[in-house]
């Protein structure tokens, strides 16, 4: 092959690359939308896989408790500790519980819980379904006349959607405890007073927006993990990619959703 021809082919390839990347992105977007529509079509029609949903809730929720507890506690403790000097400059350390409560309940608890769950649960879902795909276990379910999508995907997405809000609430409470310890050590505030000051500034909109955020985050973690795993290819390499893709995509979407929901909530305040 002559040099000119070879260069021309290389240029063509280079020119093609961005287009094919956009194509791949658009195809993925279309496929994930189809996947979400399929979830809504199948999840709420009988037969319901109650046992599997409970098992998945246990896997998602109970097994995440130790990590969530530790992270929530540290977030509360550190946030209070780091906020103290700034408030101290204005002699406003008595506002710490209010500041901590607003930061934690409005933003940190749902976000931190979702990010941890994306790493722990989302990657687990991606890897498990990916491994089932490459070892033909999903095909085996399909050829035996069962519905693998309902059993594997719907149950996992429902489980994350149900448990992430519970975990986020728990994270908020544990973070409150962390904040209380810092306040109690420095100001000697009683627990009852701290709790009262903690919940006083919170409004119904705060609780609702946090709940909605957690539900959306939970759904995102479940659907992204399931999508990555369910359609994984290329053997064991594909399993790794599915797990990695589940975490990266879910985290990216969680940040976007956080911005959108915060913006939307601000219209109601």
């Amino acid at each position: 092959m002559d040099t000119a021809n070879s260069t021309s082919i290389q240029l063509k390839k280079k020119a093609k690359k961005p287009v094919s990347k956009i194509n791949t992105f658009l195809i993925s977007l279309y496929n994930i939308n189809k996947f979400i529509i399929r979830f809504f079509k199948e999840a709420f029609l009988p037969p319901f896989e109650f046992k599997e949903i409970v098992r998945q809730c246990y896997e998602t929720g109970v097994r995440s408790f130790p990590l969530i507890s530790l992270t929530g506690f540290i977030v509360g403790l550190i946030f209070t500790k780091q906020s103290r000097p700034s408030l101290g400059q204005f002699g406003a350390t008595s506002w710490l519980p209010s500041l901590v409560s607003i930061a934690i309940m409005r933003a940190l608890a749902p976000l931190v819980t979702a990010l941890i769950a994306a790493g722990k649960v989302g990657s687990g879902i991606g890897a498990e379904l990916g491994s089932m795909r490459v070892t033909e276990q999903i095909d085996a379910m399909e050829v035996s006349g069962t519905k693998p999508f309902k059993f594997l995907v719907c149950t996992r997405v429902l489980a994350t959607t149900l448990t992430i809000p519970i975990l986020a609430t728990y994270t908020g409470l544990v973070a409150m405890l962390g904040g209380y310890i810092n306040v109690a050590v420095n100001e000697g505030t009683s627990f009852n007073t701290f709790v009262q000051e903690f919940f006083d500034p919170l409004t119904f909109t705060d609780f609702t927006s946090s709940l909605i955020k957690s539900i959306v985050f939970g759904f995102t973690i479940g659907i992204v993990g399931s999508y990555q795993g369910y359609y994984s290819t290329k053997g064991t390499e594909g399993v790794g990619k599915a797990a990695n893709g589940a975490v990266v995509t879910a985290m990216f979407l969680i940040f976007i959703e956080e911005i959108v929901i915060v913006q939307m909530t601000s219209w109601f305040r």
């Binding site: 085996a140 399909e142 050829v143 035996s144």
Partner: protein
């Protein structure tokens, strides 16, 4: 011990394929497959790796879609049936996967129960237990009922995979490389099991393999897949009684002449 079978009725085809073609991007795998599988027959599809043998049975079971051609399975045209009809049809077809495809997170019992409880509405606990015991006994592995798939040997996994398909009493069995990765003695045991299944459950089977011992031991008819088409069909001796350079090496390498 396997006994000689009743003669095959060549007027009663359970699978009829005409002009089947399938490509993956630029790779034209199947180039006009015509095939009949008759009631009670064990048909072995032989061919080198990558010739589309597994693709063929995946199309028959609806896991893959053909590009062109008609595929009639148990009186249903695979290309034009609804999802619901396909699901009902699949219950009548057993598919034994190359790597067994047992559900890792479930015990042997749960693996066997899984298709049963989802396809037989209103089945009682007693009936489930009895069906599980029966198929485990049929494959000679009753003692493994509470074991996890990871605790089983390759041969045991194959047997449990076959048991899982038998629990729905299929009319057609599709075996994808049933002896791949097994030692010669286990291979012979699996071949005998395939024949026993055919005899006991009166199934018609397609056995995908490149193992000639398996082909000779299980096949009533052999179909040799070459260049995306069935080039030779007949009994084992008929297929290999040839000087065709594409067929002869296959036989010679298997039996190290």
């Amino acid at each position: 011990m396997y006994k000689p079978k009743a003669p095959i009725d060549h007027t009663n085809a359970v699978i009829t394929i005409k002009g089947l073609e399938k490509s993956f991007d630029d790779y034209h795998v199947l180039r006009g497959i015509d095939l009949d599988l008759y009631q009670g027959e064990n048909l072995v599809v032989l061919g080198r790796s990558g010739t589309g043998k597994s693709v063929l049975i995946k199309i028959i079971s609806g896991l893959l879609q053909a590009d062109t051609g008609s595929i009639n399975v148990l009186g249903k045209d695979i290309n034009s049936i609804t999802d619901r009809e396909l699901q009902e049809l699949r219950i009548r077809i057993g598919f034994s996967f190359q790597n067994s495809a047992l559900y890792d997170s479930m015990t042997v019992r749960k693996n066997l129960e899984f298709p049963l409880v989802r396809n037989r509405k209103g089945i009682t606990r007693k009936e489930i237990d009895s069906a599980v015991e029966e198929v485990l006994e049929a494959v000679g592995l009753s003692q493994t009922i509470n074991q996890m798939p990871s605790e089983l040997s390759g041969g045991q996994r194959k047997r449990i995979g076959i048991a899982r398909t038998l629990i729905l009493n299929p009319e057609i069995m599709l075996y994808d490389e049933p002896t791949a990765g097994l030692d010669p003695i286990t291979c012979i045991e699996i071949n005998e099991l395939i024949n026993e299944v055919q005899e006991k459950y009166k199934t018609s089977s397609i056995i995908i393999t490149h193992d000639l011992t398996c082909a000779k031991q299980t096949g009533d008819r052999i179909a040799m897949l070459l260049d995306g088409q069935f080039q030779r069909q007949g009994t084992f001796d008929e297929v290999f009684d040839t000087n065709d350079e594409r067929v002869k090496p296959f036989f010679d390498y298997n039996f190290i002449k």
